[in-house]
C-alpha cells in the first residue's frame, strides 16, 4: 500500500508543467477531469437557480421574485442544466475518462480535437455568462427558444442561442471522436461482444450526437438570422411557419434526451453486475437496445407538439413510435433486475445510486407513456406534470447516474476513497428529497397547474409547499454528497487497483492511472467484461 500513497499517476505525469499541462493537454483523463470540474460547477449554479424557482413557488403570488425574473431564472436554469450539464455530463466527463480505458486504448482517436471540443464548451460557457450579464437583459424564452417570442423579445437571445450552438459543436466533436475511437482503437481481443455496456451506450450516444446535433445548430442560426435581418422565415404573417421551428428544434432536442439518459444507463449497467457479482443478464439485448433507443428515439420528435397543430394521422404515428421506444427501455430495466436476481448484492454507495436510478427511471418512463399517448397528453400538456416527468428521467435518471459514476469511478482517478456512511446519508437525503419534490410536482400537474408561471391558484398551494420542502432536502443531500466526495477524494484512505471488484480493464491498472494508461505492454483481452471469476476486490 505504500506505493499507492505516493503514486499520483496522470496527475503528475505531463509533458508540460503546471497549469499549461492542463490547458494544453491532450490526455483524455485530464480533459475528462476538466470537463467534470466545469460540469459540476454549472450543475451547482443551475441547482441554485432551481432552488430559487422552487422557493418562489412556496406560496401563491410573488414571494422572492416577479414574473420577468422568474422567466429569466427558469430560462437560464434550463439552458445551463440541459446544454451545459446534462448533455456533456456523462459522455464528456466520464466518457473521456473511461472510454479509452474500457477498450484498452491509450487515448481517443483525435486527442487534439478532444481538447478543441473542451474549448468549444468553454466558449459556450463564456457566451452564456455574457448573455446573463450583458446589456439586453437575461433571456426569457425558456430553454426551447420557441418562436415567435424568441424572435421578438429584446433580451440576449442571440448570445444564448449562439452559446447553445457552440456547445452543440463541442458535442459533435466529442461524438465524432468517440465513434471513431470505438471503431479503430479497440485493443487486441476486444471484440464487439466484449465491450463493456458503458462503451455500447457511449457509442449509441455518439451517433446521436453526430447525426442530430447539426439540426439544432442550423435551427438556432436561423433564429439568430431572424432576429438580425427580420426575414420572417418563422413568421406566419410573412409566409413563414412557426410550427416548422418546433419541428426542427425537436428533431434534435428529442434525441438529445437520449444523449442525456443513454450513458446513464451504461453507468448503471456497469455497476449492477459488479455489485451483484453476476454477469450482466442478456448482454446482447442490452447492447442492441442501446442502439435501438438511439434509432427509435430519433423518430419520435413530434410528440412534443400534439397541442401545436398537426394532422390526426401524424399524432397517431408519432404516438405509436413513442410507445416503440418504451420497448428497448423496458428491456434494460428488466435485464438490470434479472441481473440482481440471486446475485450477491453489496449495497455500496454507487450501487445505491444505481438502484435509485432504476426506481426513478421506471417512474419517469411510465409518466412518459402518459405523455406519449395523445389523449392524456392533451390534458397534461404544459402542466408541471411535464416538468416533473422530465426531472424524473433527467435528474432522477441522468443526474443520479452521474452521481453514481462519481462514487464508482472517481476513487479510481484520485486513488482515494470517500466515507461510505456519509455517502449513504447523502444518497438517502437525495433520494427521498428528490421523490418528494418531483412527485408533488407531477401530482399538482395532474390537477392542472400550468408550468412556467411564477404564480398559481390557491388550491395548488399544499402540493407546491411540499415540493419546495422536498427541494430543501434535495439541496441538503447535494451538499452532503459533494462535501463528502471532495474531502474523501483529497484526503481519504488510499485504495488499490480494484476497490469494487470490477472486471473491466480500468480495474487492472493502478489508481490513479498512469499517463499512458497501460504501461509499456498493450493490453490483451481474453474474456468478457462481466466475468468475475478470479476477480477479487481490494481491501482499503
Amino acid at each position: 500500500m505504500n506505493e499507492t500513497t505516493t503514486y499520483t499517476g496522470f496527475w503528475q505525469e505531463s509533458p508540460r508543467p503546471g497549469i499549461l499541462g492542463w490547458l494544453l493537454t491532450t490526455d483524455h483523463k485530464r480533459i475528462g477531469i476538466m470537463y467534470l470540474g466545469c460540469i459540476i460547477s454549472m450543475f451547482i449554479i443551475g441547482a441554485v437557480l432551481g432552488l430559487a424557482l422552487r422557493l418562489e413557488l412556496i406560496a401563491p403570488g410573488p414571494t422572492i421574485m416577479g414574473p420577468q425574473t422568474y422567466n429569466a431564472t427558469f430560462t437560464v436554469h434550463g439552458i445551463i442544466m440541459i446544454f451545459m450539464f446534462l448533455i456533456p455530463s456523462i459522455p464528456a466527463a466520464f466518457g473521456n475518462l473511461l472510454l479509452p480505458l474500457h477498450i484498452g486504448a491509450r487515448d481517443v482517436s483525435f486527442p487534439k480535437l478532444n481538447l478543441l471540443s473542451w474549448y468549444c464548451y468553454m466558449a459556450g460557457l463564456v457566451l452564456v455568462i455574457f448573455a446573463m450579464f450583458g446589456g439586453g437583459g437575461v433571456p426569457d424564452t425558456g430553454w426551447t427558444f420557441y418562436v415567435p417570442f424568441s424572435t421578438q423579445t429584446t433580451t440576449n437571445v442571440n448570445l444564448a442561442a449562439f452559446a447553445a450552438f457552440m456547445l452543440g459543436f463541442s458535442s459533435i466533436l466529442t461524438g465524432i471522436n468517440f465513434v471513431t475511437t470505438v471503431h479503430r482503437l479497440r485493443c487486441e481481443g476486444m471484440k464487439w461482444g466484449r465491450l463493456p455496456l458503458f462503451v455500447w451506450t457511449l457509442y449509441a450516444t455518439a451517433w446521436i450526437q453526430v447525426l442530430a446535433t447539426p439540426m439544432i445548430g442550423i435551427t438556432l442560426v436561423l433564429v439568430i438570422l431572424e432576429r438580425t435581418f427580420g426575414a420572417g422565415l418563422f413568421d406566419a404573417a410573412r409566409g413563414g411557419d412557426p410550427i416548422l421551428f418546433q419541428h426542427l428544434f425537436w428533431i434534435y432536442s428529442h434525441p438529445a434526451v437520449y444523449i442525456m439518459i443513454l450513458p446513464g444507463m451504461g453507468v448503471v449497467s456497469e455497476m449492477i453486475p459488479t455489485f451483484a457479482r453476476k454477469p450482466l443478464f442478456g448482454y446482447w439485448a442490452m447492447a442492441l437496445s442501446s442502439l435501438a433507443i438511439a434509432f427509435a428515439g430519433s423518430l419520435v420528435w413530434a410528440h412534443h407538439m400534439y397541442a401545436s397543430g398537426m394532422s390526426d394521422l401524424a399524432v397517431l404515428v408519432f404516438s405509436f413510435l413513442t410507445f416503440i421506444v418504451a420497448i428497448p427501455s423496458a428491456i434494460k430495466v428488466f435485464n438490470w433486475i434479472s441481473t440482481l436476481h440471486k446475485g450477491s448484492i453489496e449495497l455500496a454507495p454507487p450501487m445505491l445510486f444505481a438502484l435509485a436510478f432504476i426506481f426513478n427511471f421506471a417512474i419517469g418512463g411510465l409518466g412518459g407513456l402518459a405523455l406519449g399517448a395523445a389523449a392524456s397528453d392533451i390534458h397534461l400538456h404544459d402542466t408541471t406534470f411535464v416538468v416533473g416527468h422530465f426531472h424524473y428521467v433527467m435528474f432522477g435518471g441522468g443526474g443520479f447516474a452521474l452521481f453514481g459514476a462519481m462514487h464508482y469511478w472517481l476513487p479510481k482517478f484520485t486513488g482515494r476513497m470517500y466515507n461510505h456512511k456519509v455517502a449513504a446519508i447523502g444518497w438517502a437525503l437525495l433520494f427521498v428529497g428528490f421523490n418528494i419534490t418531483y412527485m408533488a410536482m407531477q401530482a399538482v400537474g395532474i390537477m392542472g397547474m400550468p408550468r412556467r408561471y411564477y404564480d398559481y391558484l390557491p388550491e395548488f398551494h399544499t402540493l407546491n409547499l411540499v415540493a419546495t420542502i422536498g427541494s430543501w432536502m434535495l439541496a441538503a443531500g447535494l451538499i452532503v454528497m459533494f462535501v463528502n466526495l471532495w474531502q474523501g477524494l483529497r484526503k481519504g484512505a488510499p485504495i488499490g487497483k480494484n476497490p469494487w471488484g470490477g472486471a473491466t480493464l480500468e480495474w487492472a491498472i493502478p489508481s490513479p492511472p498512469p499517463l499512458d494508461n497501460f504501461g509499456p505492454e498493450d493490453p490483451v483481452v481474453t474474456k468478457g467484461p462481466y466475468e468475475f471469476k478470479g476477480v477479487v476486490a481490494d481491501e482499503y
Binding site: 490526455d27 491509450r106 487515448d107 482517436s109 483525435f110 486527442p111 480535437l113 459533435i172 461524438g175 465524432i176 471522436n177 465513434v179 471513431t180 471503431h183 479503430r184 482503437l185 453526430v210 447525426l211 442530430a212 446535433t213 447539426p214 439540426m215 445548430g217 442550423i218 435551427t219 442560426v221 436561423l222 438570422l225 435581418f229 427580420g230 426575414a231 420572417g232 422565415l233 410573412r238 409566409g239 413563414g240 411557419d241 416548422l244 419541428h247 426542427l248 499517463l515 499512458d516 498493450d522
Partner: protein
C-alpha cells in the same frame, strides 16, 4: 502502441462522420425549402425566374472544375509530384475565389433591386416570394461560408505541402480537405437546380 499514433483510416473515418454532420446542417434548410415549396408552388416559380441563371451556371462550372482540380491534386500527391500538387491546390483556391467574386456580383445586383432578407420591397412581392429569397440567401450564404472555409483549408494544406509536412506517404490531410471540398460541391449540386433550374 504509444499514445501518439498514426491511423489514416481512422482520420478518414472521422472526416466522413463530420461530413454527415454537414449534410444534416444543410438538410434543415432543404426541409424548409420542401415545405415552403409545397405551400407556395406558384410564387416559388415566379421568384426563381427573378434569379440570373447565368451567374448560377458559371458558378456551377467553376465549382465542378475546382472539384476536379482538387481530386487531381490528391492523385498527384499520391504519385509524389509535389509541384503539380501545389499548382492544382492553388488553382482550386483560385476557382473558389472566382466563385465568391461571382456570388458578390450576383448578390449586389439583387440587393440593388431591393431583394434581401427583411427588405420592405421584398415583403410587397408576396409571402411565397419572400420565403423563397430568405431561404435563397440563407442557404447560399451558408454555402458561401463553406466555400470560404474549404478554400482556407486547402490553402493551409498547400502551404504544409510546400513545407514538406504533407507527402506522398502522409497525405491524409490533403485527402480530407479534398473530401470537404467535394461536400461543398455536392451541396451546390443540389442548391443550383432547386433555386435556379427546376421551377
Amino acid at each position: 502502441m504509444s499514445i501518439e499514433h498514426r491511423d489514416d483510416t481512422g482520420d478518414r473515418f472521422g472526416m466522413w462522420l463530420f461530413l454527415y454532420t454537414e449534410v444534416i446542417l444543410f438538410s434543415g434548410l432543404f426541409i424548409l425549402y420542401a415545405v415552403s415549396l409545397a405551400n407556395y408552388p406558384e410564387q416559388f416559380s415566379q421568384a426563381s425566374h427573378k434569379l440570373n441563371i447565368y451567374f448560377g451556371t458559371v458558378n456551377t462550372l467553376v465549382l465542378l472544375t475546382s472539384s476536379l482540380t482538387i481530386a487531381l491534386a490528391v492523385s498527384a500527391i499520391q504519385m509524389g509530384r509535389i509541384k503539380q500538387t501545389l499548382i492544382l491546390c492553388w488553382i482550386t483556391v483560385g476557382l473558389a475565389i472566382v466563385f465568391l467574386i461571382n456570388k458578390y456580383f450576383e448578390w449586389s445586383a439583387e440587393i440593388g433591386h431591393g431583394i434581401y432578407p427583411g427588405s420592405e420591397q421584398l415583403a410587397e412581392m408576396g409571402a411565397g416570394i419572400t420565403v423563397f429569397f430568405n431561404l435563397y440567401y440563407f442557404t447560399a450564404g451558408l454555402h458561401g461560408l463553406h466555400v470560404l472555409i474549404g478554400a482556407t483549408l486547402i490553402g493551409v494544406v498547400a502551404v504544409m505541402t510546400a513545407k514538406g509536412k504533407v507527402t506522398s506517404d502522409r497525405y491524409v490531410l490533403l485527402e480530407n480537405s479534398a473530401l470537404y471540398w467535394h461536400l461543398v460541391d455536392l451541396v451546390w449540386i443540389f442548391l443550383f437546380p432547386l433555386y435556379y433550374l427546376i421551377l
